[in-house]
Symmetry: C2
Subunit: 107 residues, 2 copies
């Protein structure tokens, strides 16, 4: 289940911040470490989790490693959430209709 990994990855605040920075524009590890309060190895570990969740992808650039947004993780999360979306609307519709019936019956 990929969606589980995505939610786990986005659950941590620091990791979300790193993900948002990467999503804004592709960045190197050192670049990310400068903009975050944690150490560089911590950033590497967070990127590992994000990469496993298919939220980011990495490419080598000389001695640097540039991380960019990977939409596969977003797709997985969106797909999982949309399974409940129709049902939520449906339930709301049912409740609304029931309320309308009660309203009519009360007169």
């Amino acid at each position: 289940m990929l969606s589980g990994a995505v939610f786990t990855a986005l659950a941590d605040a620091t990791r979300r911040q790193i993900f948002e920075l990467v999503a804004a524009s592709p960045r190197s590890v050192a670049d990310l470490a400068d903009r975050v309060t944690v150490s560089r190895p911590a950033v590497s570990q967070h990127l590992r989790v994000l990469k496993d969740a298919r939220l980011v992808s990495d490419r080598a650039d000389g001695t640097r490693r540039v991380y960019a947004l990977d939409d596969r993780g977003l797709r997985a999360a969106r797909g999982y959430l949309e399974r409940f979306w129709d049902r939520a609307l449906h339930d709301f519709k049912q409740v609304a209709e029931a309320a309308a019936r009660d309203e009519r019956n009360r007169r």
Copy 2:
């Protein structure tokens, strides 16, 4: 930031299972506890987290407590993810166009 609570809530596998059961149809705590491997107090604690994340809502029914789907949490998660959705498509489009240019230049 509500989305953080939603992702944290959906990160745990047991909690996702409980959430899916509630989303399928409103259920009591004992009903949920019967369909899950953990104890009833654990289910209560999971429901607490899901409720704080606005993923489920509870209503009293005699001595029972019926939990149902709350779409506010889903909305928050969807809103957060969609911030990156346009960008992901944009980046993909740029990459595709760059590849197309390379293809043309190579001839």
